[in-house]
Symmetry: C2
Subunit: 132 residues, 2 copies
C-alpha cells in the first residue's frame, strides 16, 4: 500500500467509539474523558428531566415550546441545558420554522447501558461477598 493509500484514521471522540465497559477493565485516560463528558451531562436534575421528557414522548420528538413550560426556568436556561445534552450526543435537534425539535439518540443511551452492564461470566461481588 503506497503512502497515498493509507487510510485516514479518524478518532471517534463520541461515546459511540468509546470504552469496552466500565466494569470489565480499567479505562484509559482518553476513554475516561470521553465518557465523563456524557455522564456529566446527565449529572443535573433539569437535564435528566428534559432527557426523560424527550425520550418518553410518543412520536419520538418534542418541540422546545412543549419543554419549557414544565420548568420554572427561562427559555435561554432551558436551551443551554439542551445544548449540553446535544453536545454529549444524547439528543439531536432540528429547527423547523419558529421552533426547534428534539429527539433522543438512543445509540448513546444504549452504549451507556452496555458500559454499565456487568461483563458476561464475571459475577461481581455483592455486599455479602466482602472478604473478612
Amino acid at each position: 500500500m503506497s503512502k497515498q493509500e493509507l487510510p485516514v484514521i479518524v478518532r471517534d471522540e463520541t461515546v459511540q467509539g468509546c470504552c469496552p465497559g466500565l466494569l470489565s477493565a480499567p479505562l484509559d485516560e482518553e476513554q475516561a474523558v470521553v465518557l465523563a463528558k456524557v455522564f456529566k451531562a446527565l449529572g443535573d436534575p433539569v437535564r435528566l428531566r428534559l432527557l426523560s421528557m424527550i425520550a418518553s414522548r410518543a412520536g419520538g420528538e418534542v418541540c422546545v415550546c412543549d419543554l419549557t413550560p414544565a420548568f420554572d426556568l427561562s427559555q435561554p436556561t432551558i436551551s443551554h441545558h439542551l445544548k449540553l445534552l446535544r453536545e454529549a450526543g444524547l439528543i439531536a435537534s432540528e429547527r423547523r420554522g419558529t421552533w426547534v425539535y428534539y429527539r433522543l439518540l438512543p445509540e448513546t443511551t444504549d452504549k451507556l447501558a452496555g458500559i454499565l452492564t456487568r461483563p458476561a461470566g464475571q459475577p461481581l461481588p455483592t455486599t455479602a461477598g466482602v472478604p473478612a
Copy 2:
C-alpha cells in the same frame, strides 16, 4: 390501625429506590435529584478511572494504596474522589489496619444500566426516523 402502629415510611433516597426508567416516562423532580447525584459522581475522568479499576479488579476489592500510584494526584485528592463515589452508592469501603479497601456496589451500576435501557416493546426512533 392505631396511630402508634402506623408504619414509618422511610423514603429511599438512593438510586436503588429511584426511577422507573429514564426513557419510559418523564422523571419527577425528586427522582431527577437522586439520579443526577449518581451521574454527577460518574461525570469526572478520575472518578471513572477509579471506579473501573475497582470494578475490574479480580478478587473484588482494591486497597487505596494500589489506586493512588496510577494517578498524578495527591492521596487526599484521590480520597475525595473516592468519597464522592461512595456517597453516590457506587462503591463501599472498609478500613483494615492501615489501609482502606474499596469494592464496587454492583446493585447501583445494575440499576443505572436498567434506567438507561429502552423499555421493552417500545422501539425508539433512530437517526433515520425523524419526521420531515
